[in-house]
Symmetry: C3
Subunit: 424 residues, 3 copies
Amino acid sequence: MENKVGDEMYSMIRTLYPICRSITGDGVRTTLAEISHHIDINIVEVATGTQVFDWVVPKEWNIRDAYVISPQGEKIIDFKASNLHVLNYSVPINKTISLDELRKHIYTLPDQPEWIPYRTSYYNETWGFCMAHNDYLKLEEGSYEVVIDSDLSAGSLSYGEFFIQGESDDEVLISCHICHPSLCNDNLSGIALSTQLAQQLQGRKLKYSYRFLFIPGTIGSITWLSRNQEKISKIKHGLVVVCVGDEGQFHYKKSKSGDAYIDRAVENVLNHSGHDFGLIDFYPYGYDERQYCSPGINLDVGSLSRSSHGQYDEYHTSKDDLALVSEQALSESLTCYLDVVDVLENDQCYMNLSPMCEPQLGKRGLYRKLGASEGRAFGEMALLWVLNMSDGKTSLLDISNRSGLAFPEIKNAALALKQAELLQ
Amino acid sequence: MENKVGDEMYSMIRTLYPICRSITGDGVRTTLAEISHHIDINIVEVATGTQVFDWVVPKEWNIRDAYVISPQGEKIIDFKASNLHVLNYSVPINKTISLDELRKHIYTLPDQPEWIPYRTSYYNETWGFCMAHNDYLKLEEGSYEVVIDSDLSAGSLSYGEFFIQGESDDEVLISCHICHPSLCNDNLSGIALSTQLAQQLQGRKLKYSYRFLFIPGTIGSITWLSRNQEKISKIKHGLVVVCVGDEGQFHYKKSKSGDAYIDRAVENVLNHSGHDFGLIDFYPYGYDERQYCSPGINLDVGSLSRSSHGQYDEYHTSKDDLALVSEQALSESLTCYLDVVDVLENDQCYMNLSPMCEPQLGKRGLYRKLGASEGRAFGEMALLWVLNMSDGKTSLLDISNRSGLAFPEIKNAALALKQAELLQ
Amino acid sequence: MENKVGDEMYSMIRTLYPICRSITGDGVRTTLAEISHHIDINIVEVATGTQVFDWVVPKEWNIRDAYVISPQGEKIIDFKASNLHVLNYSVPINKTISLDELRKHIYTLPDQPEWIPYRTSYYNETWGFCMAHNDYLKLEEGSYEVVIDSDLSAGSLSYGEFFIQGESDDEVLISCHICHPSLCNDNLSGIALSTQLAQQLQGRKLKYSYRFLFIPGTIGSITWLSRNQEKISKIKHGLVVVCVGDEGQFHYKKSKSGDAYIDRAVENVLNHSGHDFGLIDFYPYGYDERQYCSPGINLDVGSLSRSSHGQYDEYHTSKDDLALVSEQALSESLTCYLDVVDVLENDQCYMNLSPMCEPQLGKRGLYRKLGASEGRAFGEMALLWVLNMSDGKTSLLDISNRSGLAFPEIKNAALALKQAELLQ
């Protein structure tokens, strides 16, 4: 009850954690099915071979088992223990090879010798295993049996979409990637937060429409954009939801323009969040903001996360696990996202109806009674800021930014002034 | 003789200090009469009940005496000892009450237990006393006789106005509030400096016209603006003169736009003043700049002070007394105001008449004789800056700001170049 | 072989060092003749008395010998030992005078008592000697024989010009002053670097045309500008080459506008040079940029140097000698100039031909094979930046500045993408 939404998000992550996802295949489908238990997403399948802009939807990858048996007959690598052990998108293999040959197909992290790295090879057909460097060092000369029981064949790419119609057709895009296997922060946290956010917005009276995309990274956003080009221009603001479950400092990676409305809204929220945070200028790497901000798409999409892309030790390793994320961190992140929605939904430009000097707040019950008392309630400063700046062109977000007062306080002051018929 | 103007301003403060002023009443009239001994101000009376924008001119307040007599028959609070003892604008009262009842009407400063606070209740009819917290703690149970011999009745609001016609009808507004009782820095210092400034400008050949307002805070500026709407658009620049007598660091509170001409002029002067100073972004609180910068008035008015509004310990207490202000501080403040006037009066855009490369200064007697000597008089740099930047669009103030050379030096260089027919 | 160009530049400085140059006369002609051994400059003579804008070409100065003989018959000052001993442009004199009279004509540096200062008196006809302050203190009472065997008479001002025609008539101006006598950093270093730069650009396929001016300071640039007014508008960017031989930190003095293209190009190069550097805002003093940036000329000309004008102890003294400059420093400076030329020549705006999301780099052999490896080659980031920013309006220099990647890397990425037909 203390942190019900945090618990719900964490619980969803725990459910999704064991599944071996990739950019295509049944792992993605199982994940989308789980999301469907919370919100009524539309699940879309796009056939292998479909041209999507400069790309082609790849073959579908499915895997049942994978292992390596040592010369001593011991199963030293086992997909069933961790799906990170297999190079994601490995082609099937079943043969006995020398240690030298095996070594060419093994990935480790010498600097983190107990951790299994996460590696992929989507567009180059090969096979491989990932393992702890300490285990790698123990490998002895001899013949190894290597088995990857996978398929790489025609099928389809799967993604989920959830749409909430608001008063306006102008859209806010919320996008998260769903292609990573057993990695909690990157990006089961994003899936859980997006799902929770959709649940909370569903049924609310909203100004904007909200589009949630649950897609495999890169090829998923390219596929959606390619097949929904008529919808692109409706997207006014967007956020890529990633790495929102760890306890690291908040980070906001700005949109390409750097001063888009979404950038100013998120910065305002973070400024008043009580959390330390870092601002990161756009760079054409990271997650799907790369596609949304490509020159032909050019959407105002940023990314609000805790630890940012590649900037935490556990990134893309077996330590990005259930211990790295917490109910508390997820819940704080959700609050930030909801506060951003509050700005998007409630920001507007008012006109002061009594613009010649200050109106007399006292006769309207809006003024402290003693003219020279020392404690000045912030409420009064918010009233004065809103009155002073409301010229029909300056928005509440602008007023919040200039005054240094939090958006909700400015919003509340505006509502009180509207009620007193001082604002329109 | 050393600091004649400082002495004059301090002497005026000493004369005005004992008077019990408020936003209306005879205290204001006596103050205006004293100002009249120095400059020929026009004194205006506006009747109680007059509508001024959203406000109404309030009843006039006058007070003759006030005191509290203890159960032991001792006069423990006495208006005659300090007019701050009475809640400003208190309604009349004359009765005997319990200590509990008395306490509800007493204001103290627990953090500064020896000081009397200054409190007002202009628009809420009540009564009260202010006292040192240490004295408050000594109050014993029993019956107290409380007397406030005041009137709150129809009358008028008084203010003073002084106008100097310059060559142009464009005006510079100099505004100070005159409503505070025995408080020296806030704002007898402002009254004294404005008076002295008016005396010094009177009779000078001036480009701008100068309008000096001596008004009660808030209601005074609202009244003047409301009744002089046709004059508002003539005001091109303005300064609110407050807290200019203490020895605190200079502060300039910018106009609403933040980069108005007056803002750049004052910043330039402070940069070269030799004093440390702080710049304060506009906020819709403080003094009458709140009204001048309201959205329907929107004048370029800032405020140049020493310690700024509310930012010194003695603010609105009995310690804002004759010891807090000094001849030296007043005189330094006046110098800054005069330097700002110097910029306003003398700034202009010149055109270099010999713009193809540098003109030969030597043949015009404007160049040091030895081409490679090491000591470079600043005078020469000022000449070179003025020549380099004078394209008919760049003003002397711009040149001073870019070069880092003081405005007077740039002005003098321009005059020398004009004499040499190199500038127009 | 290690530093062939550094050796060549140093060797040229050594050859030019003994010559007594001034703003006119045979010293300049001998210097131009030496430059002619390296590049085929056009040598121009402009007659004494010629009007050049506000100035007149002065009389020509030549000197054969100068000395002072002490009462003891000793030659205590000797032009043949150092040409700095004579006040540059001294009129001839041959007489015996008292010590008191002699002192009025002697210049020393009391703070650097072993160094001879460099002094001039171009536009005020007088005579004088410069000497070490310690020697000055040893002068005894008595009669001194002073001899300056010089001419100041009608002749001409000499300068050199070298032009390389590029594809475009748009010009880059490279300007250095040649009027200083035995001073190495100021400005034999500039002469040597300009000459070497001209040699290296000559014969290259170039987008811009390059104009090199070897001119006496001030009067030389004024003369060239005055007599080539129709060419001024062709000059798009320019650099004044001075003090490029000492080991001091790099400095770039910006053009008058401060954000001209040349300013951004030089700052970009310095940012990636691996050297510390300082940026200096334009001021109307220093070298010939004063003339190029005068309001009627208004060219985008900055100045890239090591130690900047007047900011090193040896400036304008006998210690600005062959020990102050080095092959290494000259060579580093040349590299910076060549890098600036690389930007000017190769910067352009490309258009991404596959702007809808990222193109698939892998199928074009432009992508690392493993999608999630941790080491990210900068090469890939350069590709992504160029693709993301190439909208036909954003230049490679802009992309380099925004990405923080060096211009050559961005340029190479663009070439690879152009080859892959992803860029136009």
